[in-house]
Amino acid sequence: MLALVFVAFLPLAWFLGNALITVVDAKRSAREWHLEDRVVAGILVLIGLAEGAYLAAMTRGQSVSAFTKYYGSLLIAAGIASCLVTLAFAWIGKKRGWPGRQGLNLDSIKKFERKEWVVIILFLIAVMAQTFMILFRTSVFLEYDETLETVVSFLQTDRFYEVNPLTGQPFEQGMPMRLKILCLPALLTFLAKITQADPRLVTWHVFPVITLLGAYLAYVSLARSLFPEKRFHRCLFLLAVALLVFVGDCAYGAEGFGLLHGGFQGTAIRGAVMMPWVFGLCIRRKWRLVPLVILAEACIVWTLYGLGMSALASVTFLAYLGLKNMLQRRKEGQQCLNS
C-alpha cells in the first residue's frame, strides 16, 4: 500500500500542479512551464490541501480520523477539479490558437553527446546512492526534532496534540499555536494511517525520499532557468548539486544535511524544494506562483507570522531587479545626454 501511494504521488502532484499552472499562466503554460515545475507546484498544492484539512479538523477539536476523511475528500475533489480545468483550458486553448505543448522529441534524446551521457549517469548514480542512504540508513538526527513522537501520538490518541508527544502526559500549559498549526506531522500521520505502515518507516525513510525527489525536480527547474540553451551545462549543474548534497552532509542547516538526515522536517523541505524553485521563478520573472510557495512555506515552517524565507528571498530579489533596472535606465539616460 505504501509503495502504491509512493508511485501514485508523482502523477497526482503533476496533475494538480498542471491544473494550477494552466489556470495561472494559461497562454504560456504549454511552452514555458515544464514537467518539473508542474510536479513541484503539485507538491505545494498537496501541502496546502493538507493544511486546509488539518485546520478544519484541529480548530474544531475533531479527530485524526476526521482529518483523514477531510484530506482524502479534498484530494479527490482537487483531482476531479484538476481534470475538468485541464480539459476546459485545452479546449479554450485549441479554439484561441494558444501554442501547444512540445511532445517528447526522441531525436533530441538520441542526439545526447557521450560526455552528456557520462554526466547524467554519474548524476543518477549519486541520486540512487542518496535514495538508498535514506531508505536503509540506521542513523537520524533527532536533537531538534520530535516529529516521529508526534505522529505516533496522533495515531495512538486519534487526537491532535491532546498529549505532549515526548511524554504522553496531557499538556499543562499547552504548546505555541504557531507550531500547532503546522500541517507536516498531520500529513505524515495521514500517510501512515491510510497505508497502515510503521510510522517510523513513513517518517524517517519514505517521506524523505519524496523530499529528495522534490528537491531534484526543483533543481532541474532552476537548471533550466540558468542554462536554457546549454544541455551539457544543465547536466553538469545537476551533478554538482548531487555532489554538494553529499558534501553538505557535514553541517547542520546545510541542504545536504537536511535532505540526508531530516527530509521529514519543514526546514529541509523549505531549504531543498521551495527555495531553489522560488529562485528559479525569480530568475525567470514568473512572479505569479511565488505566493503559492510563500503560503506553502507558512504551512510547514512558521517564521514571523507566516512571512517566511521564500517571501524574504523573493522580495529581496525583486528589490535587486528594481535597483538594477533603475541603474540601467540612469546609465542609458546619461549615455543619451552625452551623445
Binding site: 540506521t138 542513523s139 537520524v140 538526527f141 533527532l142 531538534y144 520530535e146 513522537e149 505516533v152 501520538s153 495515531l155 495512538q156 508527544p165 515526548l166 511524554t167 504522553g168 502526559q169 499538556f171 500549559q173 505555541p176 507550531l179 510510522p199 532557468s225 540558468l226 551545462h233 553538469l236 554538482a240 548539486v241 555532489l243 554538494l244 548534497v245 558534501v247 553538505g248 552532509d249 557535514c250 553541517a251 547542520y252 542547516g253 546545510a254 541542504e255 545536504g256 544535511f257 538526515h261 526546514t267 523549505r270 531549504g271 527555495m275 531553489p276 529562485f279 525569480c282 530568475i283 525567470r284 517564521t303 514571523l304 512571512l307 524565507m309 524574504l312 529581496t316 530579489f317 535587486y320
Partner: protein, 293 residues
C-alpha cells in the same frame, strides 16, 4: 541585543567549523566576478547570492535576519535565504568550463576535473559530520525488546521511568506509554515545542537515574560538572535512591527500570522498602507497581 550579536558571530564560526562550504562559496563568487562569467540571468543569481552571503556573515545584518525568523530557529537557518547550493553548482560549472577552455589537451582537462572534485569533496567532512547523527537501529531494537518484555510482565506499561536510552526511544516505539519526562529533559531545544516545564523533583530524578547508572549504587554523590538542563541538584550533595523512587511514585510512575549495574545490596534495600521484587529485563531491573490510572 548583545547576546544576539554574539550568537550571530558564534553561529558563523560554528558554521565554518563544520565544513568549508562557506569558503568555497566565497571563492566561487570571487572567480565568477573576476573572470566576468555568466549570462545575465546567472549574474542575477550571483549578485543576489553575494549580497545575501554578506548579510549572513556580517553579525549586525545577521541579527536582523535572526529577528526576522523570530529567534526560534538557530543562526544556521538564516542561510536558507542564500542560494548557496545553486551559486556553488552554477558558478562551479562556469569556472570548470573556463578552466577546461584554458587546459591544454585531454589529460589536462581530466586533471582539472579531478582536482575540482577533490576541492569540492574536501570542503565537507567526508562522512564524518560534526553534528552527532544518532545511530538508532541497535538501541531501538534493544529498547523495543525491553519494552515488549515489560509489557508482557506487567500486562501493559503505564507511566514509565527508566534510564535515558529507554526514555529517548519509548515514545516513538509505543504511543500508549507515558513517561515521567521526555527527551526535552536533556535536549534543551525541544523545550521550544511546549510551554510545559519540569519540576525540580523531575530534574533530580533524571540526574539520579544517570548517576545511578554510572556509580551502581542507590545513594549517589552529585558532581560539580553535572550536565543537566535547568537547575542542577546541589554539587557535593547526595541523591538518595530510596527517596528518589518514592518521589517518582508520588509523581505517578507505575513502572521503573533501574540500571542493571545496581548492586544486590541496593536491590535488597529497594525490595524491603517498597515490598516489590525487582525482575531482570535485559540489562535493567524492573520494579512494577500497581497502576494508578
Amino acid at each position: 541585543m548583545l547576546e544576539l550579536l554574539r550568537n550571530a558571530w558564534k553561529g558563523w564560526l560554528d558554521a565554518t567549523d563544520a565544513g568549508k562550504l562557506g569558503a568555497l562559496l566565497l571563492l566561487v563568487l570571487m572567480l565568477v566576478w573576476l573572470w566576468k562569467l555568466g549570462s545575465e540571468k546567472q549574474k542575477d543569481l550571483f549578485r543576489y547570492g553575494a549580497v545575501m552571503t554578506a548579510v549572513c556573515i556580517c553579525p549586525v545584518s545577521a541579527v536582523l535576519l535572526m529577528l526576522y525568523q523570530t529567534k526560534f530557529y538557530d543562526y544556521e537557518w538564516i542561510w536558507t535565504a542564500v542560494p548557496a547550493m545553486a551559486v556553488l553548482a552554477c558558478g562551479g560549472t562556469l569556472v570548470l568550463e573556463r578552466l577546461w577552455e584554458k587546459a591544454d589537451g585531454k589529460w589536462a582537462r581530466i586533471a582539472i576535473t579531478g582536482m575540482a572534485l577533490a576541492v569540492l569533496l574536501l570542503c565537507g567532512k567526508l562522512g564524518n559530520p560534526k553534528w552527532t547523527v544518532q545511530d538508532v537501529s541497535t538501541e531501538r531494537e534493544e529498547v523495543a525488546d525491553v519494552l515488549k518484555q515489560v509489557g508482557e510482565v506487567t500486562g501493559g506499561i503505564g507511566c514509565l521511568w527508566a534510564p535515558k536510552e529507554v526514555m529517548s526511544q519509548a515514545r516513538s516505539l509505543d504511543g500508549s506509554i507515558r513517561l515521567l519526562y521526555g527527551r526535552n529533559m536533556w535536549q534543551e531545544h525541544l523545550n521550544a515545542f511546549s510551554y510545559d516545564d519540569y519540576s525540580q523533583d523531575q530534574r533530580d530524578l533524571y540526574a539520579w537515574m544517570s548517576l545511578a547508572g554510572a556509580y551502581g549504587t542507590l545513594n549517589v554523590p552529585v558532581p560539580a560538572d553535572l550536565d543537566v538542563v535547568g537547575e542542577a541538584p546541589e554539587a557535593g550533595g547526595t541523591l538518595e535512591g530510596i527517596s528518589c523512587i518514592q518521589k517518582a511514585l508520588d509523581l505517578g510512575v507505575d513502572q521503573i527500570l533501574l540500571p542493571g549495574i545496581l548492586t544486590e545490596d541496593s536491590l535488597a534495600e529497594v525490595e524491603s522498602t517498597f515490598s516489590v521484587s525487582p525482575q531482570k529485563i535485559g540489562r535493567y531491573w524492573l520494579l512494577s507497581f500497581e497502576r494508578k490510572d
